[in-house]
């Protein structure tokens, strides 16, 4: 529980974000601000690790020194943050590990989402789609990777490949790295299209901007109907919108985890008797043309 001794005292909540300069993370921050601002006695401080593990460690060390009532960490890397989060827990600071796993359970609770699972969902959707299209699970796929060596790219690829390996007739005919960026995805997709003048069935991109870029490239060559585009992330103003507009066939929400974190975190702050579970897993949801409109409508409210 927190240390809210007097009513007048404010709660200090520190959120150590691994990299602000990424729309997914910016959305997390925004959402977290939004939710905590409904609680006037909470001071939220968001630290930006700038995609640098050393930096994020230092920032958490700083935070520990300030003795916050709640620490939320979105770790950049599983190994690097394990130790310092252990120090936070040892210092008696209630700590939430957000979204990504660390090596040891050095946290009070872990609110997770799972890229491997998302990869598997995408793989399964692709198998189903191709089975519907060709009567059997076969076809040609182009895969656009996020930055090499980054957890998201590794697991979104790994999960999908895990499903596809059961279906040898689904071939990955072109596999390129576009570093999460839309412009690069457009150039890489253009090359894939040129190298494969026909017969591409699916484009699986590790995030929505890359999937969208791939769509634009195909559209320009008048080939966007030939294939279906699959993305991941499902941010409202990006992925969901793209699905709604018929650009993407499907996208998979990479959960922000923020709502759950604030819900659990608030209880931890205010209810000394509350003990959180060790782990909450937030399921991804599938955004299809059928439910996209509804989600967009909700967001607009």
């Amino acid at each position: 529980g927190g240390k809210g001794d007097t009513e007048a005292e404010k709660f200090l909540v520190v959120f150590s974000q691994c990299n602000n300069a990424e729309p997914y993370r910016a959305t997390q921050n925004k959402r977290m601000n939004e939710l905590f601002s409904k609680q006037p006695d909470v001071d939220l401080a968001i630290y930006d690790g700038q995609a640098d593990a050393g930096k994020q460690i230092s920032q958490i060390e700083n935070a520990i020194r300030q003795k916050p009532h709640l620490l939320i960490v979105a770790p950049l890397q599983r190994d690097s943050l394990t130790k310092v989060m252990g120090e936070a827990v040892a210092a008696g600071i209630p700590t939430i590990c957000l979204e990504r796993d660390i090596l040891e359970p050095n946290y009070t609770t872990f609110i997770r989402s799972d890229n491997f699972k998302i990869g598997r969902l995408a793989g399964q959707w692709i198998v189903d789609h191709l089975t519907k299209k060709h009567g059997e699970p076969k076809g040609n796929m182009v895969e656009l990777h996020g930055s090499k060596g980054v957890e998201g790219a590794i697991n979104r690829h790994g999960g999908c490949a895990d499903v596809l390996k059961e279906h040898p007739n689904i071939k990955v005919v072109h596999s390129a790295t576009a570093n999460w960026f839309q412009p690069e995805a457009m150039d890489r997709m253009t090359e894939a299209l040129n190298a494969n003048p026909s017969g591409i069935d699916v484009v699986y991109a590790h995030n929505d901007p890359m999937a969208y870029g791939a769509y634009l490239s195909a559209k320009e060559k008048g080939r966007e109907k030939e294939m279906v585009f699959v993305g991941v992330d499902g941010l409202t103003h990006e992925g969901v919108k793209y699905v709604h507009e018929g650009v993407l066939g499907v996208t998979f929400v990479y959960p922000l985890c923020v709502d759950k974190a604030v819900e659990i975190g608030t209880k931890m702050l205010r209810d000394p008797s509350f003990t959180p579970e060790k782990e909450y897993s937030i399921e991804s949801s599938m955004i299809l043309p059928e439910n996209a409109a509804k989600i967009l409508g909700e967001a607009a409210e």
């Binding site: 839309q182 090359e191 634009l216 919108k241």
Partner: protein, 326 residues
């Protein structure tokens, strides 16, 4: 006879390296089922040109900057700023103007904003006498912050609809518009460099700064002008990229300053200033463009691509270099 042939070879080393890479690309290109060489398809060649266009445009003004013995590390950030400004003015601004007027305003605002950043770079370099590297490094950091702040850390999607934003995307992403813009700019820059007094000053300033001062050249004005141009061209590249991706992305263009500089240097321009040409830079852009394209067509593993790229850059530059003079 043989001597003349060798002399010609020596003068046109850059284009020869380009031709070499082109031939290799033709040889190793995959083929269609009908046996056509994919690399040589008109569609692929123009795709290749368009892909390199944003970098190539920035490398034109970068050539000028480098000729003055300067450098501009901020072009990538300015490119992002331009896209974000364009996007915002098209999507979040509803002035009730004619679409064409709104589009024009958005484009001009974006380009002018970058021009002003470039001018600020130039003024700091020319009047405070701080090294260009450090001024434009600061601008690279600061302008990235500005673009992120301006866009609220979010990508601004133009959509593919038929509203103002969507029609901007349609109008300005055409292959020939992009390639054409580059060709026009390249011609202008080549002519300015070779055929105008200003161009001569640009080459002189980097060649011998003291002599320029002694000759009474307007040193500061030349510096301010080249950095302003660098801003303007980064702005244009940003608008085109925004149209092509139908997105104003505050994270666009990260590391593209290095790409633009690499193109210039592969084109034979010396970072010490004074020596270089626009033809060389075009050559450098084509070398990089073909290289990226053929590695993509062959779908070479990304890591292998990186290593091959490194190797080929070294070889291309080594082949072009003059014999080490005493």
């Amino acid at each position: 006879m043989k001597d003349r042939f060798l002399a010609v070879l020596k003068t046109y080393k850059g284009p020869l390296v380009l031709v070499g890479i082109f031939l290799v690309a033709v040889l190793i290109s995959p083929r269609t089922t009908r046996g056509e060489i994919i690399f040589l398809g008109l569609g692929n060649l123009t795709d290749m040109l368009r892909a390199i266009t944003p970098i190539a445009i920035m490398s034109l003004s970068m050539t000028f900057v480098i000729l003055t013995a300067g450098i501009d590390l901020s072009v990538g950030s300015m490119l992002a700023l331009s896209g974000v400004v364009t996007g915002t003015l098209l999507v979040e601004w509803d002035p009730g103007l004619l679409p064409s007027v709104q589009i024009g305003t958005a484009i001009i605002s974006a380009i002018v904003a970058c021009g002003l950043v470039g001018m600020l770079n130039g003024v700091l370099i020319a009047t405070l006498g701080i090294q260009p590297f450090i001024v434009t490094l600061a601008a690279m950091i600061g302008v990235r912050g500005l673009a992120l702040w301006f866009s609220n850390n979010e990508r601004i999607g133009l959509g593919v609809g038929s509203d103002v934003a969507g029609s901007f995307g349609d109008m300005f992403s055409g292959k020939w518009l992009m390639i054409g813009t580059f060709l026009v700019l390249a011609t202008v820059f080549a002519v300015v460099l070779r055929r105008t007094v200003f161009g001569r000053y640009v080459r002189a300033v980097g060649d011998n700064a003291l002599a320029s001062r002694y000759a009474g050249l307007p040193l500061r004005r030349v510096q301010i002008a080249v950095y302003t141009m660098s801003g303007l061209l980064a702005g244009i590249a940003g608008v085109l990229l925004c149209a092509r991706t139908t997105t104003g992305d505050p994270n666009a263009g990260i590391t593209s300053e290095l790409d633009a500089i690499a193109v210039v240097v592969i084109g034979g321009t010396s970072l010490a200033g004074g020596k270089g040409s626009i033809i060389g830079t075009i050559n450098g852009a084509l070398i990089i463009g073909i290289l990226t394209n053929i590695l993509g067509l062959r779908n070479v593993d990304f890591n292998m691509q990186l290593m091959l790229k490194a190797l080929i850059i070294i070889v291309a530059v080594a082949l072009q270099r003059k014999k080490v003079s005493n």
